[in-house]
Subunit: 299 residues, 2 copies
């Protein structure tokens, strides 16, 4: 099962890459401004990453017999949003990360102005893709996808979480605030990714909610594991420089609960996530395996 | 007629302000991150401006009997996009403007990180508003609005134009390149604002195109007039400090054609814009007056 998941992740990542390549603006060397912008958008979104969020879209959509092309198109939109959030997050005024996925981050490779605009371009492209009839023939589905995604990544979701994260560098957060921060910053996009599959498949509300609940929990588990990996750097991972230099905010479970309790919390969340999927029986085995994978990964 | 237009502009601006106030996230002092983000989003979008783009939405929608609330909601989305573009444009890495509409710009009032996130939040909010059923009962209309707007302000539109503008600071542009830059940077959002009224009213394609053509031309005329006002600062406008410190790029009609030819070009565009509206007869008198207004204004 573990190998099957790895294969499936890899296969989805490849199909996604093809799809994103088609959807991104092409590089027209004759048009100097647009060409630079397209290059930066491509550089920031096409290179690597585990593509977990797009995988959630595709795996969830497959539960409802959604066409592969529809699912990949929505998955690409989600990944454009994720890529934009990383480009803006890496900027000197925010986390000031020079490296991303083993490469210079966008503002280092290009410059700050280009990185700001490339992030804006990726965010805008996500909505353009979702609004296009080729994503789904039914405009209700398209509008619904856009509404769910914009709510998840707006001021009450991902961006609000990023703002809280910045403030947490100056201020000690309570466990409630940390939960809220992480749910907004990370889980909201996970949740809507999984929900997107259900929206595409016009799933009944309880199934849609089950998938949201599942992905919310693995999003949180994923983030805790990320923070645990950061905390363990130097002990277990001698090649310290290879991991990105994360924001040093205090808004993590690890900083508030300590390593042991945070590890336990991640495991509980993973089990809780799996419980949400009972209604799907063994058709959701891949998603269940993913819930185990996100807390067991080593990078 | 001139007074009627001024009244109508003022009235629309007031209604728009109410609508934006409702749509923007509220300030919850208990939640420190979200509260800061909401404040910055409100600060950057609620204060002043001529609200020309929202006026275009509302005036165009009124040609097709669209409800005032639908029109104002789409108009608010357009203004959120305009506000986001100004917030990001003012950042130190881009135009580095400290003042905007007579007030400190967002990154001066708050900080750079907050300004970047507030811009992201406003852009996202625009799509959230358009996707919401309260904007229009027909999801085809909502998806169509989002598609048109995202195309207009993405890499092939406004953002691409901003990128070209930055590059124009290092490179002399031809008149063709300047036209392309200004069409992308300014006219695209003008055009889609006017088109939005037609989309809301499910107007036939030729009418939709007529409104697009009209607004494209006044967008260009508006930008030329803006650049002329900048060029004339110091001669006619002694209170120099009151106008914003614009980017010193070479990508303007004034820099390429000189003051006299640029003035003539703005007038031609204004007349051309009016010609697009013949099909509407005197029902479009207000829009025709606006075409005269944008080239005659003094601030």
């Amino acid at each position: 099962m573990k190998e099957a998941l790895q294969d499936k992740l890899k296969q989805t990542a490849e199909l996604l890459h093809e799809k994103m390549d088609i959807l991104l603006p092409s590089i027209n060397k004759g048009r100097v401004g647009e060409s630079r912008l397209s290059e930066a958008m491509r550089y920031s979104s096409l290179s690597g990453g585990k593509r977990l969020r797009p995988f959630l879209v595709v795996a969830s959509a497959s539960l409802f017999g959604v066409s592969r092309d529809s699912a990949l198109q929505a998955a690409a939109a989600v990944e454009f949003i994720h890529a934009y959030s990383l480009v803006h997050d890496d900027l000197p005024a925010l986390d000031n990360d020079d490296m991303r996925r083993g490469q210079p981050s966008c503002h280092v490779k290009f410059d700050e102005a280009t990185a700001i605009l490339a992030g804006d371009g990726l965010l805008t492209l996500a909505f353009e893709v979702l609004a296009h009839p080729s994503t789904h023939y039914d405009s209700n589905v398209r509008a619904d996808l856009i509404l769910a995604l914009s709510e998840a990544v707006g001021a009450k979701g991902m961006i609000g979480g990023q703002m809280m994260d910045l403030i947490s560098e100056e201020k000690e957060l309570t466990i409630e605030e940390v939960t809220r921060l992480q749910r907004m910053k990370t889980s909201a996009l996970f949740a809507v990714s999984c929900e997107a599959g259900a929206i595409l498949g016009k799933a009944a509300r309880p199934l849609r909610n089950a998938l949201r609940g599942y992905a919310h929990d693995i999003g949180l588990a994923f983030q805790i594991t990320d923070d645990l990996l950061d905390a363990e750097i130097g002990e277990e991972h001698p090649k310290k420089g290879e991991r990105k230099d994360k924001s040093s905010g205090k808004g993590t479970y690890v900083s508030v609960l300590g390593v042991d309790k945070a590890k336990m919390q991640a495991k509980i969340l993973s089990q809780q996530a799996i419980a949400h999927l009972e209604v799907f029986g063994n058709r959701a085995d891949m998603l269940k395996e993913l819930a185990r994978f996100v807390v067991g990964r080593e990078n």
